[in-house]
Symmetry: C4
Subunit: 244 residues, 4 copies
């Protein structure tokens, strides 16, 4: 860690009266995501990248009770790739004892570096998990077509929006014991599926990103809607692809 | 566009301390609809017509975060029919960059012109979409009877309320790639089914209208209740019509 | 109508800073019930009897937007039985135009007179309606046993609480075209089932009462919980009575 | 009862401007738990132990309307074991008439004495109850593995967190007519299953504890999530243990 900012400069990175400041947004959005059942039991969260600054929530805390002063700030350009277990560069570490940066850090970085995303959301939504459970054990991806909500999703999460007649495809990767160990398989899936706007993690949840926090959030909503209706369709034995 | 109002006159069209002013109502109701799952991911919304003014939300924005200053105001009497893709007359365009009027505009106009409605609501409710998915591919309409909530629905959306013993019938039309392209098939269904209080769009959602915003909202609630219970009944293999 | 109070005296019946005043409670509780899905689309509501005064919401309005000044006040002792369609005595009629007293009035009176209830709640909960739909057409009642939540329900709605080992039984009556026309069949069911704490109305909802508004509300919650879990049990083919 | 504190000293035990004071927390958390459907109809609640003081809600009241002045305070060291029906020592009894301490008192004490827990939560969550109903009548426990949310649960509720590959096991005990009569069977199950973080009560609900109120709450959320998804998996005929 190479933190050379004064305490006042560090505080200024997260204390703002602007409700759209990333530290305020992360706190507010985590409260909203909690109500949606996306981040209960300390799981899930959101990271926002604004230019060269990345804002992160702490690991293992009640996400609906995060305050701006709990937020970590990291330089987007790290002195080394922020691999699992590696030391990272920080601009600000919260003074509250016992806080460590989110275990999703290298996964968020996948979205920032491979898709130039401005925000990445991770949820434990039951719709995402049930969807992976209802797929065969060796399924590589989830596909759905002919749903209006597909139009709210962008190619690769950051490109043009999909059409009603496009088939949305999202890779499913296996879960690992340690969250950070998903880094490589998530990156591999993002390479293999360049058009996918998200990565489903079997028996775990989903990672969704976008150019901005607004696009990451609205795409998370569209995808969660599609996961939910896909679960209902599978249980009702309706095909997910096609318009029969 | 033939906008001849001054900036002050335009602002006065949407800034009001009256909570029942259409610009305030649209903002408040969209927050409520978001909680109901009707307008997540930027989808859905409400338009209110008050005399010769029509109030519209922007397209493709987070509906639960709309503010009165984001609202478009159009004269109800347009110099030409506000067809898909056509230029429209505006009384006020929001100054925030990048906002365009709702893509549902010509669909809302169907309700205003063909039913003299005072408000029209569009939702992506999963109950509406699942209901269309559980109907055969060639089904022209959804029918249900013997439900108390039918009594909250009006003939044609704007006439007398239905009776418990009436059969409610709502046409189902196919979805299109571009929302505006639903204009003609929605109008055709409204002509063919003059008593229907709403139009279901397969794999997409529903349009509901009423004489006032209150009637449009309470009818949307009654219909969404009926869509939800109809889905449950179909999954439980209970007949929707009759009292067996 | 034999209203001899001055305007000021009438207003004093509903305007109070006490949050536990019946006019304030009805407004607050209807907002809460709306969130529970009990009174959407103008359906359902609550009436409170405090000594010789009965407080009623208006008919056919958005229940979550009721204000204390919209509340009707009636003397409990009416000059004639408040039968369906009969003229009633009022202490206060809201000045807002077009408001009429709740169509449930004679049904609430059943609870007040036959059970000496202090409050009666009517909901259109889907759990109640689905439960009636999952019963055979000629079923006279719903029965359930061996559920902890049964312990929150009182004999006849106003007596001692039931035990975990008691079987709760609630009659199911047929719906009618006009809500007031349920008056006699509801009274007949209350006579036939003196221990029942509520009356289910097929394809419509439920009426629940209690000694006080608190007991009416907590019993409505316990019963709605039991209706919901009974629906789940029936769909999973689990028996409702017994502990197998 | 051996209460020797003055009235002022008693009030000081529950009146505080600190939102993290146990009396404030119990009130706030019960409101939150109500929204989750965990404590409707007066059921369920939370007790917090802070050093030698135990804070308890009253029995049989609307949990979402508890105020700090309704909280009981007991010395953790009781002059005799707080068995069912036994007299207990109090530091503070609310002055509001008719309040008695929670019927869960001896069950909370099980968690405090056998696990040195700092908080214990009891819910009537339908997911917990349905899960017990979907198990065979003679099942002694519920088991699940390969779920990310398992990682939010601690061994014995107070030890190290579980791994994704661990199998979580929670004993199921039979319900009794009187809540306090669960004391012995709950204690026996806690002895037989020292690693279990909770006790399921058939046809009733669940008890969950943790080192602190935060850990009790986040573990309750993780477990409730697992109960919910386990119910969905059982209904979809998916195995709960293994990764097929």
């Amino acid at each position: 860690m190479s933190n050379k900012l004064t305490h006042e400069e560090q505080e200024a990175l997260v204390i703002s009266e602007d409700p759209e400041h990333p530290a305020n947004l992360i706190s507010e959005l985590c409260r909203e995501f909690y109500k949606l059942g996306w981040v209960t039991g300390t799981g899930g969260g959101i990271s926002i990248r604004q230019g060269e600054h990345v804002y992160l929530a702490p690991s293992g805390v009640q996400k609906e009770r995060i305050k701006p002063e709990h937020i970590f700030v990291l330089p987007f350009a790290q002195s080394s790739v922020p691999k699992p277990g590696s030391k990272r560069d920080f601009l600000r570490i919260p003074s509250k004892k016992g806080l460590t940066e989110s275990q999703c850090t290298p996964l968020f970085w996948n979205a920032f570096t491979m898709r130039e995303a401005g925000a990445c959301i991770h949820t434990h939504s039951q719709h995402a998990v049930m969807l992976t459970l209802l797929h065969p054990r060796d399924a590589q991806s989830f596909k759905i077509s002919h749903q209006e909500m597909i139009k709210g999703v962008r190619i690769g999460g950051v490109g043009k929006t999909l059409s009603f007649f496009n088939t949305l495809e999202i890779p499913i990767i296996d879960n690992t014991a340690v969250e950070e160990d998903l880094t490589e398989s998530m990156a591999a899936a993002m390479e293999k599926y360049p058009d996918a706007p998200a990565i489903l993690v079997r028996r775990h949840g989903v990672y969704v990103w976008g150019n901005t926090w607004e696009q990451a959030k609205t795409q998370s909503e569209c995808l969660d809607y599609l996961f939910e209706i896909a679960v209902k369709m599978l249980l009702a034995k309706l095909p997910l692809v096609g318009d029969n």
